[in-house]
Symmetry: C2
Subunit: 352 residues, 2 copies
């Protein structure tokens, strides 16, 4: 079945041109939707009760206040509006240079706490244009910086292995992933320690704040630099917060660069490979003997570097291998083996 599937991909004039990519995309959509359903159910179970209890408590307190002070309904609504609008001001001036810089960071990194949001229409318009340019710039910068960090870490690890006198000093992807994971956890813990000290939060809440910030979710339930006018009165702490966010995003970016980036291009690589296969077959005139690469393209790519045992090809019991194949890049058909040694594997993503 395996051979037949990839053979179908390479047949000239085939209508369902990209079965692998479509199956992969459809599976991902299904996965994500199921993930949302499961998450919704769990959050419901965890938070609903507490929400009801808290609501009842607040309603009680509100009735007490209204009885004590005898507000008119309009006055109470006015008071509510007043308190809600005054809240951001309580944390100090949000739009002086330090505050604006903080805001600009939350825009281009897409963290978007919302502790401050443009009040004027001109501010909203500028915010949108600022984001259009700034977000791609930031994406590329953090990926670039993250890749450099990975190269540095790989080099350091190699030196470490050499110093430790290990026999094999080659740094594997597993090594890199473990180090990346530890770096992320370390960065979060370091931030948690710092912010719990400066903001007066518990360690757990500060850790949660760092996590929500560095994943760029940015709820805004916890926001640094909002206490005691820190934005204007504590410049070293302000600088630390900014640097922490930018460094932390680099570490996360490096980890994503290592682990996730290759999956973002699977469909495109398979498309290209399919297109090559079809183009290669089109150059065959009827009656011509097929060259090795075309023979392979017609019958289905032989696994040149994939670890699929040959005995598996075509057997029904190999659905597991097909599933794995769905989420890795398709193997490239071997071309003119004489050149293999001097050529890179054309489209295989390698971790750096």
């Amino acid at each position: 079945r395996e051979l037949r599937t990839t053979g179908r991909q390479a047949r000239v004039g085939d209508r369902s041109r990209s079965p692998r990519q479509n199956v992969r995309t459809a599976s991902l959509i299904l996965c994500t939707f199921s993930y949302l359903l499961v998450g919704a159910a769990v959050f419901d179970a965890l938070e609903s009760e507490t929400e009801s209890a808290r609501k009842r408590l607040l309603e009680q307190k509100r009735s007490e206040f209204r009885r004590k002070y005898r507000f008119s309904p309009e006055d109470y609504r006015e008071l509510e509006r007043l308190v809600l609008q005054a809240e951001p001001h309580r944390a100090g001036r949000q739009w002086k240079f330090a505050g604006s810089f903080y805001f600009a960071i939350t825009v281009i990194t897409t963290i978007g706490y919302g502790h401050a949001a443009p009040g004027t229409d001109a501010g909203k318009i500028f915010c949108m244009f600022y984001a259009i340019l700034g977000i791609p710039l930031t994406l590329v910068t953090f990926q670039s910086l993250g890749e450099r960090m990975n190269v540095l870490v790989r080099w350091l690890l190699q030196r470490l292995k050499r110093c430790a006198g290990l026999r094999r000093t080659q740094v594997s992807t597993e090594n890199m992933v473990v180090v990346g994971l530890l770096s992320c956890l370390g960065t979060l813990a370091m931030g948690a320690a710092a912010f719990s000290h400066f903001e007066g939060w518990t360690f757990f809440h500060a850790y949660y704040y760092c996590f929500i910030t560095l994943t760029t979710i940015g709820f805004g339930d916890f926001v640094a630099l909002q206490r005691d006018e820190a934005l204007h009165k504590r410049p070293p702490y302000v600088a630390f917060s900014f640097l922490y966010i930018l460094l932390g995003l680099t570490v996360i970016g490096a980890f994503l660069n290592l682990v996730v980036l290759r999956f973002l291009t699977l469909n495109a690589e398979d498309e290209r490979r399919d297109a090559e296969g079809r183009a290669s077959l089109r150059r065959v005139r009827p009656g011509d003997p097929l060259r090795p690469s075309q023979e392979v393209a017609r019958c289905g790519a032989l696994p040149s570097r994939d670890p699929i045992p040959f005995s598996c090809l075509g057997a029904r019991s190999c659905s597991r291998w097909k599933l794995i194949r769905l989420f890795t890049a398709a193997p490239s058909p071997p071309r003119l083996h004489l050149q293999i040694l001097s050529l890179p594997h054309p489209l295989r993503r390698k971790a750096i």
Copy 2:
């Protein structure tokens, strides 16, 4: 200077192994930092005045209220806390299934409005684990779906060109970028029309909301489904909101897939090319004549498909070309031209 730079890259045992990548990364950091400074200055100019005026107005109103009702300071602070905590409840139950699903979407897409945030510690912990798995899953899904969308659009455009009787039916990258841009604007406008109708916002505010949502910034200053208990009383509108967010993110994802994704892998591709160059040179024994590919690797890659005019090579006036080169993939050294036609350009990113 151009030849000398790339030659330096390929020299065996060269200490500064990746000048291009380091220069690129450093330039990006400098760019981003300058961008933040400029943004901060503009936001300061746009928002500071309004902030001061609004603060004075609110303080006035507060004094009026305190004089009218004669609050004790503790009572007023208590009232403030009460109003702030009661605010999320005013929009209705946030953690029933529909609300939790909405919240789960804001987590895995990293929008993170913050209109609802886990109140319990268990909710916070689950939220973090939920995000760790959900965010990469969502990234990959949207890129996959976006790539499929790009393929479909490309095919449609080709059919359109054919029907319109155009001579050249090939769909260029420029065509795709224009269509992608129009799709993004169209999606935003459509959402703005819908949300301004359902939420009672102005068209501009609804557009701003859609923009902030689909870029995943998610301030939370405008949040859909918070009026009149829409989460529980208007299921079709709820379904529309969810679908809009997911479809909109796909359209944005497709555009990013087309325009930005290739830049995320520039450093890695250059690293690989440099490594090949060095590996290729190491196989040369002293006294051996260099093969064409090695000769090229030693002297610096000749532009095989780059549009840099030959007369430019080495001239001082070509700093512009060098700048362009910094932000595109390095050209690959031509290898055994006989194979060029049947080989893909090894590492050139092509838009799909």
